[in-house]
């Protein structure tokens, strides 16, 4: 016997699915989160292009060293044009950051970074692939509507645009955590600690050089122990998989973001991964609900307005007033409860909001 959904249930599902697709593809929503990613990507593009430019200043381009073409049909730019393109990428990155001709600048930066990437397989890095994906997603959005010089010239101000690329970016970001975690999960050498242990042994001299013997020796005694890596490796795998799945659900999203920030800081400290840590942490903004000023807040403090980068609140500052917040669904919070809620929604404080102690 086969169980089938009853017609009303199936119709309801279809209707919800259609509504979701309408929301994703047709309903304008706030592009503020995308604008934040744009601002993070600007300096990241410059950071990424810096070694290529440094070589170019020394008179070395990809023509002068070993290159392995991805595809023979990709045109090889003459050295002079190649260097000019790199500088065009830098200029575009600056414009992205300040938000002038934002979308065009993002497309230019995307084109330069992508072209440089595909000139040689030796230019491949995972972090650069992620940079390209983020640039494409941000360029597909009308990202200059807010937090930009472009927005200042637009009257009346309106931060809404189509946000279907945000869903694409969400999928890509989650896929990266999943791909990395799953590949390690099914590799006995990885999940069993062998890979991490061997790497730690190999690079222990670097740790000693960086920290000095007195500080490094007790740390190394712990992290080079086989048992430590036997525990740490599955934890690292579980961390990536938790981020990949937990970030999709409202109940676990905050924890997943917190874990992701700690994870990326940990990676950056233990292994330099070029722009990856910065862009991955910046890209966490795309998981914010794309609506702004849909909670009203009465507060005596000006600091909320300064820290509300995601524009979560419609804020009225009243000196001497007590805190009062009305949520999207009409729920009213007052006093300490309102303060606590606000702190869970501000980018600068949400990481620590769970540990915050109130008088």
């Amino acid at each position: 016997m086969t169980a089938t959904a009853s017609p009303p249930v199936a119709a309801d599902r279809r209707s919800r699915c259609r509504r979701w697709l309408d929301d994703v593809f047709d309903e304008p929503a706030s592009v503020r989160a995308v604008a934040i990613v744009r601002i993070v990507l600007g300096p990241s593009v410059i950071w990424h292009l810096k070694p290529f430019l440094a070589d170019a200043l020394d008179g070395i381009t990809y023509h002068d060293v070993f290159q392995q073409q991805w595809w023979p049909w990709i045109p090889n730019a003459p050295a002079g044009l190649y260097v000019a393109l790199l500088w065009a990428g830098v200029a575009a990155a600056v414009l992205m950051t300040v938000g002038r001709w934002s979308r065009t600048a993002t497309w230019v930066a995307f084109t330069v970074v992508t072209y440089n990437f595909f000139l040689s397989e030796t230019h491949f890095r995972h972090n650069r692939a992620f940079l390209i994906i983020l640039l494409a997603g941000v360029a597909l959005c009308d990202n200059g509507r807010v937090l930009s010089l472009d927005a200042r010239r637009r009257q009346p101000p309106d931060d809404r645009g189509l946000v279907w690329p945000v869903w694409l970016l969400r999928f890509e970001a989650a896929a990266i955590y999943f791909a990395s975690g799953f590949s390690k999960l099914i590799d006995p050498d990885w999940v069993g600690g062998r890979v991490m242990h061997d790497r730690t042994l190999r690079y222990q001299d670097d740790v000693r050089d960086a920290l000095g013997g007195t500080l490094a020796d007790p740390i190394l005694e712990v992290i080079t122990a086989r048992a430590f890596q036997w525990v740490l490796s599955p934890v690292a795998v579980a961390t990536e998989l938790f981020i990949a799945f937990g970030i999709w659900f409202r109940r676990t999203r905050l924890a997943a973001v917190w874990v992701a920030v700690a994870f990326h800081v940990g990676i950056e400290v233990s292994a330099q991964v070029e722009v990856f840590s910065v862009i991955a942490i910046g890209a966490l903004a795309i998981w914010a609900t794309p609506s702004t000023r849909d909670r009203t807040l009465v507060t005596p403090s000006r600091w909320v307005g300064w820290l509300d980068w995601m524009a979560r609140f419609d804020i009225t500052v009243v000196p001497g007033a007590s805190w009062r917040m009305v949520d999207r669904n009409g729920t009213v919070l007052e006093g300490q409860a309102a303060r606590r809620f606000v702190r869970t929604r501000l980018p600068a404080t949400f990481l620590f909001s769970r540990f915050w102690r109130y008088p």
């Binding site: 397989e121 995972h126 999943f178 061997d198």
Partner: protein, 134 residues
């Protein structure tokens, strides 16, 4: 786009380079290379530290992942990726050393440890150079 990304992730289990499959820090493998030049009469001439006929491997390669492979070093992106890159690098080197008029082809003996297991040895070589044209 979603399907393409899923395809690339799946392809990462076949592709030695894991392009767009996002498998960072996949191995802790190491490798070392012994480079020789093979002359037309079959004589094998060592190229210690990758230097011969005024050429320097490290300088010409210009890419940290393949520089200084004469001592055991970390295999960037895994052994399979490094061997594939070395294979192409030998061809590129054979094409970009015009002042070397005696070498028929370059041969690299790669000794590697995959995640500290080994040693394993594989031999790769460049294509034959057309000495008459040089």
């Amino acid at each position: 786009m979603v399907i393409v990304q899923l395809g690339l992730v799946a392809n990462g289990y076949r592709d030695p380079h894991n392009y767009f499959a996002f498998q960072p820090f996949n191995e802790s493998s190491t490798y070392a290379v012994e480079l020789v030049r093979v002359l037309p009469d079959g004589e094998r001439v060592a190229a210690p530290y990758g230097r011969w006929e005024g050429y320097d491997w490290d300088e010409l390669i210009g890419w940290r992942a393949l520089q200084g492979p004469w001592r055991q070093r970390h295999a960037f992106s895994g052994v399979d990726a490094v061997v594939d890159f070395l294979d192409h690098a030998l061809d590129w080197m054979a094409d970009n050393t015009p002042d070397d008029t005696t070498t028929l082809y370059l041969e690299a003996t790669v000794t590697y440890y995959r995640n500290a297991r080994g040693p394993h040895v594989t031999v790769i070589r460049s294509h034959d150079r057309e000495l008459g044209r040089l």
